[in-house]
Symmetry: C2
Subunit: 278 residues, 2 copies
Amino acid sequence: MSELGDALHLQQSGTGWTGELSDDWAIGEAINGGLLMTLATTATSRASESVGGHLDPLSFSGVFLSPGSAGPVRIEPRILRSGRSMTTAEVVVSQQVGGSDVERFRALVTLGDLDRYAEPVLKTVAAPDIPPPDKCLAATDAPPSTLTKSGFLKRFDARMDPATIGWALGEPSGQGEMRGWLRLADDAPIDAAALLLVLDAFPPVSFDLGSVGWVPTVEFTGYVRGIPAPGWLQLRLHTEHVAGGLLNEDCEVWDSTGRLVAHSRQLASARFAPTSVE
Amino acid sequence: MSELGDALHLQQSGTGWTGELSDDWAIGEAINGGLLMTLATTATSRASESVGGHLDPLSFSGVFLSPGSAGPVRIEPRILRSGRSMTTAEVVVSQQVGGSDVERFRALVTLGDLDRYAEPVLKTVAAPDIPPPDKCLAATDAPPSTLTKSGFLKRFDARMDPATIGWALGEPSGQGEMRGWLRLADDAPIDAAALLLVLDAFPPVSFDLGSVGWVPTVEFTGYVRGIPAPGWLQLRLHTEHVAGGLLNEDCEVWDSTGRLVAHSRQLASARFAPTSVE
């Protein structure tokens, strides 16, 4: 069983599912949002399957309400619409805190059949040309993490394009861009639901704009366009609009055949130290 | 009272609000989705205000479940989180059909204080250079609409960049791009909530890819970045990935000062006639 498979272990419980969140997937003081999204999507797909609905996530839009913490977690999907080509659901992820149900996030998910949308490709975004993984920098080459928890970083083999890693050496480029490669540390296969984890796995682009500190996600919308072929995934993160610390972080993911398999936009609020805006 | 003001008239009713949808805002067989989103956002803002929360929409993510029709409509917002700088809510829009509640759409909304995020602008997208409104083509210059209902089109003064209007003359450019200007036909002011209407007001980019027929929105995520200055709004719609008929339509809106005031991405499913993909 892969590390991700372990993390996605779910048990049916009443109208929903229960799982267990681990600090192995924590970054800073919270369980990584992408892991929660993949967990929620996996449960939602099962709920859909149980009513004869569709299985593959096509879109996922969520709002983060409070940070996840290690311990039991409850996932409650609810089918809103069962159509001929798509199934729409809402999913709520919550944890018990001091005897009360505390919502971690809530999302709206559209499911369908990814095979149906593979062809023809009338237009697409090509992956940028970057150095191959063995010429990119691994997380182990970076300065030690100052984060209180960073188990999350050990779950991946991430290789960053040296041109977008200046921030780790105190020299952000100011472009707000991250490029690189990703696979799971145990090289387990990435399925459609796991692409949501991938979309949230890289450092925030705000680091490349001179921001310090983690950048909590306010809202995230991801789209899955295909199940990746085996091998490295290539990522590009960028931002087009940063004002008053509020930014949208866009991410594109290509598989080893060069196919765009997922993309997303998230709204996040970053803090910029005064010197970085002069 | 402006036409939009009329359409957004809401009455408090129990835990929610009621309004009235009119064919004046219909396109094809449905009430325009953007109008529903603006209505929902307006009600959500009021619900937030009533609990001391924030008023301006920052993000809006919705899934469309069934088309709206002329008649009474119910909007039910629910505050999920009341934070220091943001308030998060869910909102459900439904209509009575044959005695049952039928959900039209459901959305997750983040509200905040737009003034807080105006400055500094570290990075942004500039509006493309296009001919001024008086050199662009008005809807009245276009071939008569073949849509069964098109009251919606009369609510706006839309001027399309001639370079992106070939599709109306049977010659789509294949780029999947629309550019132009927009204001309300009665030139009423556009506030933050009304920007969601604007984001969904132009023809779908799939027309410029050779698709015929309307393109129902599956999922829509919009972001408001500022309240527009008076005057024309400039729009650019484009798509970066079209595969198997599934496409993301991106929209950017700039106000008359050149400031990016809103942007969005929606997932839609288009039908492409066989000849258009040869």
